[in-house]
Amino acid sequence: MRQFAVIGLGQFGSSVALSLAEKGCDVLAIDSDQDRVDEISEQVSQSVTVDAADEKALKSLGMKDIDVAIVSTGEDIEASISIVLILKEIGVKEIIAKAVTPIHGTILKKVGADRVVFPERDMGERIAESLASPNVMDYSEISDTHSIVELVAPKKFWTKKISELRFEENAMVSIVAIKRKVPVVTAEGETEFREEINIKPSPEEKINRSDILIMIGSFEGIQKVRGIQ
């Protein structure tokens, strides 16, 4: 099993550490703040209170066996750069670092981070997307040109088959899945709904009023589909 180390247990770091632990991964959680370490210690395999920017201290943890280290001390730019450098020197196989600005990201890559993430920026983009178009349930850029979006099925699509929509060839967008809320009656006799996901729906699939379409496509294509009412 892959071994993870999460350095910096702020909101992002602790959320990553807990999610990995929930998935059954071995997680070593590190922070210089004892309270933060205490908060998470029971849920992860191992936790240590140490200043990770201190080269000696970090090396003493014997992190050679760690497969992936997540450096989430983004706000302390100097510390995150030092930690990436030390981890690289130790020989950690993969280093993922959180950055707060594009320049910070560039530096982290230059000093050895294999991947740089911008959680605040990404979350900001997602929130802006959903605020700008309330029918967008979720949005994520998967490259510089393409994104994946969860969109409430526009009225124009209701009762139509996917093959009848004819937007795919025009907009270079594909429906990769449909989330559908299906009405049910509970054991108590109450009405409720159950969410079903249809991965790779057939062209004959009809779009329902309660559908959420998961689509992948170019920014322009997605933009076109979002404009459809």
Binding site: V152, P183, T191, F193, N208, S210, I212
Partner: protein
């Protein structure tokens, strides 16, 4: 005479309750047949007759959530919680919608 009046009032109230229950049942029928807009109209009709009808707000919330009207659903469940603070179902739906 007073007794007659109160009996008459009770009868009327019972009839009103019956009418509301019928409207909600019609709403449920529409919901189960995926006629979501019609279901919403029925639940709103019930609410117009009784602005404290927990059942109508709850079912309205379920229907609006099913058609991804997040704000509307949140408001409906908030109304249920205001009328019945311990309503577990409404609390679960409300929390889920707030997290989105």
């Amino acid at each position: 005479m007073n007794g007659d009046n109160s009996q008459e009032l009770e009868k009327k109230l019972a009839q009103k309750k019956k009418d509301i229950d019928t409207i909600i049942e019609v709403g449920k029928f529409y919901f189960l047949n995926q006629k979501f807009d019609e279901a919403v109209a029925e639940y709103k009709k019930a609410i117009a007759l009784d602005s404290k009808c927990i059942d109508a707000y709850y079912n309205l919330g379920i229907t609006l959530e099913a058609i991804s009207d997040q704000d509307g659903a949140r408001d409906a469940f908030a109304k249920v919680i205001a009328l019945e603070p311990g309503n577990k179902g409404a609390l679960e739906h409300y929390d889920r919608l707030v997290e989105k």
